[in-house]
Amino acid sequence: MRHNKKSHQKNSTSENNQFLVSRRDFIGKSAIISIGLMLPNYLTAFAKSSKNNMTMVDPATAMTAITAAKTALDIMASFSGSSDSGIAAMLRYQNALLHLIIDQLGEIQRSLLTVQNAIAVLPEQIKSALAEQFRIELIANINGAASRYITNVLSPSLSNPELINELQVQNEISNIVFIVDQNISTLLETQTGIGPEACMIAPLAMSLNIAGRTNLNYSKSVKVSQLLRYRKWFDDMLSDKPGSIKSVQKQSMIDHDRYISQLDNNPLANRLGIKNFIIGGSQIGIEDTDPAVMISRSGVSCDIIEGKPCDKYGGWRPNDSFLSRAFSGIYIRLSSVTKVLDKQLDAYTLQYNQSEPLIYSKDEPNSMTTYKPFSGKYHYLHTVPNNTKLPSNYIKELVESDKTAARNNNAFREEIKLAITQANLERAKISFCAQAQVVALNTKKRIEEYINTIE
């Protein structure tokens, strides 16, 4: 159904169809670009090579992966949260708390599996990129080690505390410690080694390492030197170094505002006060019409009564008296951008809202009783021949089949929705970083506590 540009301008029906195609493109692009935020280098290359072969990705799916990752961090935050949390119990290897350790490790394991699954269902190209970003194979390896530790060491120890001293179990533990060490070394060599993603596994790896070494009767000094290594790592995560949690978060804030400012030339976005939604903004938008179409049978134009010409899109802001005198029918949908609290992300995301259409016609006076002029709001003017009957379903059809100038709003609206999707992914990332920061701070505190008691 692709048409060239000239023919759309002449043929409004085909213009509508063209728009549907580009809308799909928009959504596809939106998801790809959004994930690209996590993967700037990869995506630029990818976008260049696949211009004509755009992969369709539901933005919601990408958001799901990030939400799952954020949830994993929530669980990690409570694992490292207090002096009687799982991580503290593991560092000290307190037998009395085996139940707690097993429970919390199990929870972490499940949450990391959810992240792996959320990434696994993404389309191939995106999946491999996101998997690389999150170092999914390291997550899988360390998660596997945790699972072995639960199944082969902790759970059997519940009924037989002496088991830990058996040669086979000792071998199993040293194998687990070896795997953890190896994977952490790999992670530290990568670019994302001190970023928020590292917090998804670092506390788990550290706990396995220290608990394992405690079971293997390593000396204090070895454990302390391991812990100092981890402390250094968490210090780096909390620093201002490039790639640290803070620097990733800062970049997301910049990117977020960049997406919002892409709408600077979007008239609808400006009417809705989109600029208020930058990170430091008031987060309160302006309610306006999307669209409002005034249908006139009397052949009036904008400037007849008010003396103001319509803008280049065919709309203006009429006052109340003009509205009541000149129109024969009206179609209005009210719209706004609002912040909505996403409970899972613990963050405010942006949402584009559009009310159901309100239609009024002089030919159906019953509907006039609830008429309320939207004086001063942006209206398009559409003139019909003098003898046209205007039942409300006719007005609805007229506007929704894009036969009026209100069709301009379609592109503006899609652009806003795209920018909002991108901004929301940045917001998700900001929240992800914030939670990573909590995990890193918590874990550091647990390390300090443990070093103080071990010496």
Binding site: I279, G280, D346, I430, S431, A434, Q437, V438
Partner: protein, 338 residues
């Protein structure tokens, strides 16, 4: 009979040899009878005869002090540092004046314990290559009527080991801190043990010991206040960071999420007031109150430090005078007081 005498002499001299204290890991150290001979053995890199003579004379002049210091340390040695600077162009090796560092049992420990300021980083021009070696002075025939000073050379790999250990400590502030404390204890113990051997008046010895103990207690007290002060200053710094965090993220993160951020960063913030805050503005207020309270506490600590610091200083002067009067060498006093 002759053989027996020879064996006797051999055993006797061996026992004398092993009686000279060598630092750990340097059992093979051989000794020279005077500093001049030792420096002569380095003639391939030290050709400056004036330097050698000056050094030899200085060591003679200090002989009595060194004896005195070694008498107090008991088992141990006196450490000198010899630094040779190489001119990058002419490749000439210019020795710097020999440093008389102090007494102790382990060379690296002596260097660290006597460096009030980190001397490693204050080395001269970086472009100049400076090589450090050490000289270990200990007493030969200690229990005879004519004890002698002998000079051992710590060079090459051994000197490198000493330098590395010193550098490691100097770079690691925490380690250095704990090291200073443990070294202080070593010097304290050594002086205490020797007080009763060297001072005939028991009362004086015991009073001096009490004075030392009070000084150390006061130092510990001061240190713990300083630690608390540092901790609270750090908290104020963190609270500032939290305020910035709230202002940056309040439009994105939920109030609950902000609260988690705040309590993760400031673990001693009153949870009840934080939980009662339902808007970012209220949270800012809670953090500000917390900062004000910390500020008050910090001010109290500062006042305490001034007061306790005066007492500490008085103890220090008293102790320094007392130890000097009793003939305790500077080399023993220095690491104890700083």
């Amino acid at each position: 009979m002759k053989t027996a005498t020879l064996i006797f002499i051999l055993i006797f001299s061996l026992s004398q040899l092993s009686a000279q204290y060598r630092p750990p890991g340097m059992a093979d150290m051989s000794f020279y009878n005077n500093l001049g001979d030792l420096l002569e053995s380095k003639s391939h890199e030290l050709q400056d005869d004036v330097f050698k003579n000056t050094a030899q004379n200085e060591s003679k002049a200090r002989q009595q002090d060194i004896f005195n210091a070694l008498k107090w340390i008991g088992e141990g040695g006196y450490l000198l540092r010899l630094r040779v600077q190489e001119d990058p162009i002419t490749r000439n090796k210019v020795p710097l004046p020999i440093e008389y560092i102090g007494v102790g049992k382990v060379p690296a420990d002596i260097v660290i314990a006597n460096s009030i300021n980190p001397t490693i980083s204050s080395s001269p021009n970086e472009n100049l290559r400076v090589q450090s070696s050490y000289i270990w002075i200990t007493i030969k025939n200690k229990d005879s009527r004519k004890p002698k000073l002998v000079f051992g050379d710590i060079y090459g790999e051994f000197a490198k080991q000493v330098n590395q250990k010193v550098l490691l400590h100097m770079l690691n502030k925490d380690m250095l801190e704990s090291f200073f404390i443990s070294q202080k204890a070593v010097y304290f113990e050594t002086i205490k043990n020797n007080l009763y051997k060297q001072i005939s008046d028991r009362t004086v010895a015991s009073n001096t010991e009490n004075l030392m103990q009070s000084f150390l207690n006061q130092a510990q007290r001061l240190k713990s206040i300083e630690e608390k002060l540092q901790k609270d200053l750090k908290k104020i710094e963190e609270a500032n960071a939290v305020l910035k965090l709230i202002s940056d993220l309040q439009t994105v993160l939920s109030v609950a999420s902000l609260a988690i951020q705040i309590s993760a960063a400031l673990d001693d913030i009153p949870q009840a007031s934080l939980n009662a805050a339902t808007t970012p503005a209220e949270q800012v207020k809670v953090v500000n109150e917390y900062m004000l309270r910390k500020g008050d506490v910090v001010e109290t600590y500062r006042q305490e430090i001034i007061l306790e610091g005066k007492t500490h200083n008085n103890f220090k002067l008293d102790l320094e005078n007392q130890l000097k009067t009793l003939g305790v060498p500077d080399e023993m006093i220095r690491p104890l007081l700083y």
